[in-house]
């Protein structure tokens, strides 16, 4: 990548270049607009699931925790489109509320890990020197154990529960991002335009904010979508094991755990939350891959 930009720098103005006031970060967005259906369809689906979950309190027909002993394990009907569970709770409402819990947790986790990773990676990579040596050693050390192990170690100290799980996931998740961003910064620092900015006396903060950060935007978006999918899988797994969201609160993982004994006779209780988890994870993978393909073609 850096060799390409060197070539571009050596032979300037062979074709019309964008006006100087135009910022480089608009380019990814512009061709995102021109992109194919392989990106648009999964993005639209993912977005609608996220919105539907966030609007759970408006869309859900029933209170997700309201028990109805007359209607235990009911089959799908006009009143209960996905039936009811072993305590007579409306499955559709619980799916919506559960989705809100799962997705909001994953979104918070994603934003926090990516931001932390970005801050650490940017500063460490750009400042360099001894600070970078310490940070990169720490990153290498932390990355040499599986991140789930780190998550569970933190969770062990904090104790099981929604907040504990979220803190543990963030505490273990930022490390991988920091390493990726750090190495991107290291190669961006060598580019001609950063050199040019340095030579006209731009401050460090300005170079980081105006020249390096915008060029990381596509990796931020790709990493964030893939992270969202991975976090949803981890959060639901750990909630399923009783380490995350605690009953009676709905979460796709706890729903599967509570209904375990009824799967044989009432497959819908297993299918509904499981399909939701898989679908969101799949859509995240599709969106992440599609954006990455687009970026690779762009180069």
């Amino acid at each position: 990548m850096s060799s390409l930009s060197n070539v571009a720098g050596a032979f300037p103005a062979t074709r019309p270049r964008p006006a100087i006031h135009e910022r480089p970060d608009m380019r990814p967005l512009r061709w995102l607009g021109k992109q194919k259906l392989s990106l648009l369809i999964p993005s639209a689906l993912l977005l609608s699931i996220v919105v539907a979950s966030i609007l759970a309190s408006v869309l859900a027909p029933y209170n997700p925790n309201a028990l109805d002993m007359q209607q235990m394990l009911a089959s799908p009907s006009p009143e209960h489109p996905l039936g009811t569970d072993q305590l007579g709770r409306d499955v559709l409402s619980r799916i919506l509320y559960g989705g809100r819990t799962t997705i909001v947790m994953s979104l918070i986790g994603t934003v926090a890990t990516v931001t932390l990773g970005l801050v650490v990676g940017l500063t460490s990579g750009y400042i360099g020197g001894r600070f970078d040596l310490i940070v990169s050693t720490l990153l290498t050390v932390l990355l040499s154990v599986p991140s789930l192990l780190l998550t569970l170690a933190i969770l062990g100290i904090l104790g099981a529960g929604t907040e504990g799980l979220l803190i543990a996931l963030i505490g273990a998740g930022w490390v991988g991002h920091a390493r990726i961003f750090r190495s991107s910064v290291l190669s961006l620092r060598e580019t001609v335009y950063v050199e040019a900015a340095e030579s006209i006396g731009a401050s460090r903060g300005r170079i980081l904010w105006r020249h390096i950060f915008p060029n990381l935007m596509t990796s931020v978006v790709v990493l964030a979508t893939l992270d969202l999918g991975a976090l949803i899988l981890t959060i639901t797994s750990l909630s399923f094991l009783g380490l995350g969201v605690q009953p009676p609160n709905a979460d796709w993982g706890t729903m599967l755990n509570e209904a375990r004994t009824y799967f044989g006779q009432y497959p819908l209780l297993a299918v509904a939350p499981g399909v939701c988890i898989s679908l969101v994870a799949l859509l995240c993978n599709l969106v992440g891959d599609a954006i990455r393909d687009v970026v690779d073609v762009g180069h």
Binding site: T140, V145, L148, I157, F263, S278
Partner: protein
Amino acid sequence: MGRYVINRLAAAIPTLLLLTLTAFLLNSAARGDPATNALRAGGQEPTPEAITAYREQLGLDDPLPVRYATWLGNALQGDFGRSFIDQREVSEILGERIGPTLRLGLAAFIFTTILGVGAGLLFGLFANTWIDYGGRVGSLLLASIPSFWLALLLITYVSEKWQLLPVAGYGGLKFMILPVLALSLGPAASLMRFTRSGMIEVWRQDYVRTARSKGLRQTFLVMRHALPNALLPITTLLGLRFGQLLAGAIVIESIFAWPGMGSALISAISGRDLPVIGAYVLIAGVLFIVVNLVTDLGYAFLDPRVRLDATGGRGA
């Protein structure tokens, strides 16, 4: 090669230090006073004198670095303290569970490797045919399905409905099929994708084109030129896959009531049994580091470019 081995071993030292430090902190971040807890397990409320004496005996009043050194010395001899829950030796609790975990992990590792690499090579060789498209859709689906849900479905249908295999428990091959399947399919899917792209990349190389233009037979081309080079980078991935399996086993063991370290960890976290958690982190971490060290050294042994690069020699 010798220098590469030394460099690689030295790089593992800070990680080991951090792991022991984490395990030690987990061990000492006790809820309440460990001396009181231990004595209370005897049945009656201990006297203040007994607590002071016991604290001294355990060395709980020493400064932290001293306690760390003592703890490290004990840990190296396999003594990780006692569980908060039932006062059993942690080494005993985890010791009897390492075997089952390694058994499950190893079986899943072999299955993952064969399935992932085999299918990946197939998809790579038949790139952009219907085999490849089917494989890509399949691997994408497998990578998105949570392993615990897959496990639940397997139990519900294969064991409960069709009664083909036991629901859960520890035993021979019959008990291992479902856990290994649930554990392996996800990691195998990502291995497939890596192998596929590796194979396609090798297929584009000049030496493969040359070999092809010489009119070599297709099978010879695949076996002699493409396969070895495509498989090389995958060896390092296998080490990472092992860590993924180790982590996945935590969930799968609990579902199948497999008496391994993972299910012990889950109950330890629920019960906040910190010494067990600490010891688990240490043991699993060391296991992971060792496996990665072995795969990295194997990679360097197979591919001279790696060791020349890493020693800062003529590689670049």
